[in-house]
């Protein structure tokens, strides 16, 4: 028993020949991919929500198509499909411009694909959050003569954040977990690093358990962070029972 204990600690040690460092690097890149994809999703989602609410018929139709399609198709298929379509499309574009083809960096591809997927979900979350703002508040801002940008920054954004935050927290959780799917198209993040570690040492169980715990740690820490942010954006609001 003592020897196996020692063995497991050796396997997980952060310095080679231990695989702990590889796992931690994988975890860092998982968080990095998720954070970048989340940020892109936020941008797309804000644009999408404002576009859907803008009243432009064609824009709304296009955005409806985007959100419905993305939310209806399995994530794995989306990631694989967009990965191929994205790199293929980019290279065709480059060929049309008579530029040499590029090899798309795995990190960029992962972030772009996950961000595009997140954007569809964020559009709906943010749209709901904006609709939940009492109309009077926006009318008041207009009456004060605020321009659209100032109105968004001073009234819309602070008022929508408390409504949107639970949904955004859920989306963050789902993007950290969806980023594991990127392993399928071959970018090395936590899931793929774990599989490599397992394959070369044959201690699959230890490594997958370790990486599951790493993901769990990411989730639990995010929970705490989101609770803090929620306390911040809800400051000044009466507490519900």
């Amino acid at each position: 028993m003592a020897t196996t204990q020692q063995g497991i600690l050796d396997l997980l040690s952060p310095y080679p020949p231990g695989w702990g460092g590889v796992l931690l690097a994988g975890a860092v890149s998982t968080v990095a991919i998720s954070a970048c994809a989340f940020a892109i999703g936020l941008l797309l989602g804000t644009g999408g929500a404002l576009g859907k609410l803008s009243g432009n018929r064609i824009l709304r139709l296009l955005l409806d198509l985007y959100t419905t399609l993305i939310r209806a198709v399995p994530e794995l298929i989306l990631i694989v499909g967009l990965y191929y379509a994205g790199t293929d499309g980019l290279n065709r574009l480059l060929a049309a411009l008579e530029l040499p083809p590029v090899n798309v960096n795995g990190f960029v591809a992962a972030v772009a694909v996950l961000g595009f997927v997140q954007g569809a979900y964020m559009t709906e979350v943010l749209r709901g959050a904006i609709l939940a703002i009492p109309v009077g508040q926006i009318e008041a801002a207009k009456a004060f003569g605020m321009g659209p940008v100032l109105r968004f920054r001073r009234v819309l954004l602070p008022a929508l954040l408390p409504n949107a935050l639970p949904g955004l927290a859920n989306l963050w959780m789902s993007v950290t977990k969806d980023s594991a799917l990127v392993a399928v198209v071959g970018y090395q993040e936590l899931a793929l690093a774990t599989r490599l570690a397992g394959a070369s040492t044959k201690h699959y169980f230890v490594f997958f358990l370790a990486s599951a715990l790493l993901y769990l740690a990411i989730t639990l820490v995010s929970n705490v962070v989101f609770k803090l942010i929620e306390g911040r954006v809800r400051r000044g609001q009466p507490r519900l029972a």
Partner: protein, 229 residues
């Protein structure tokens, strides 16, 4: 767009669709049964059962399904043959298959998400109805079977439909452990014919159709009980 490959691949597509549906049905049915236990453990259990059910849900909801699947398939799968007698047992041909591990991990995962939905629904059942049941002299078991659970399931129906669709969208992961599901067939077609988008498109249409069927079934289930609005 080139769909001529369908004529030679349709038997494979059908078996793939069958595998996908099997995975979905198995994980939803067994997962739901486990979820009922987990939800009651959290709502009315003692301190220890509550803690255990809570940590089960946290673990399975906090880690990616892909990792759970690989933990079972590669991890437990590589430990299983070391258990004496397993190789000789009747179940070995099943225990060797990727399908078994996919079904188990999907079931455990679905149970965790569904337990959370049911927990909320159990708490949402009006207290007066439970008290009325008690006043009629129903035993705790009868109360659960006749009032508490059916009422909770009815409250949770729309959410359950959503969860089943989410589960359907998770099934393509099974292809990573050699299950020949619909997505794996699309993958194989890609490797054979070098067509990337057409197989994915066909498979996607199937998923959309299945989603529509699930939505339809649940709408008619919800319509079983007239609700005053």
């Amino acid at each position: 767009m080139n769909f001529t490959w369908i004529s030679s691949y349709w038997p494979l597509l059908l078996t793939g669709a069958w595998q996908t549906v099997c995975l979905l049905v198995i994980s939803v049915v067994f997962g739901f049964a486990i979820a009922i236990g987990l939800a009651f453990a959290q709502v009315s259990g003692g301190r220890l059962t509550r803690l255990l059910a809570r940590s089960y849900c946290t673990f399975f909801r906090g880690t990616p399904l892909l990792i759970q699947l690989w933990l079972l398939y590669y991890g437990v799968g590589s430990l299983l043959p070391m258990v004496p007698g397993v190789r000789q047992s009747l179940f070995w041909p099943i225990l060797r298959e990727g399908f078994f591990f996919a079904a188990v991990s999907f079931t455990l995962n679905y149970a965790a998400y569904e337990a959370e939905v049911l927990r909320g629904a159990l708490l949402a059942v009006p207290k007066g109805e439970l008290e009325a049941g008690r006043a009629f002299g129903l035993s705790p078991w009868m109360l659960v079977r006749r009032i508490w659970l059916p009422r909770a399931i009815r409250i949770a129906l729309p959410t359950i439909a959503g969860e089943i669709v989410m589960q359907l969208k998770a099934t393509p992961l099974a292809f990573t452990v050699t299950v020949m599901d619909l997505y794996a067939v699309a993958n194989k077609v890609r490797q054979d014919t070098l067509l990337v988008y057409e197989p994915l498109l066909v498979v996607t249409l199937f998923y959309l159709a299945l989603t529509a069927v699930i939505a339809r079934v649940f709408r008619s289930l919800e319509a079983q009980v007239p609700v005053r609005r």
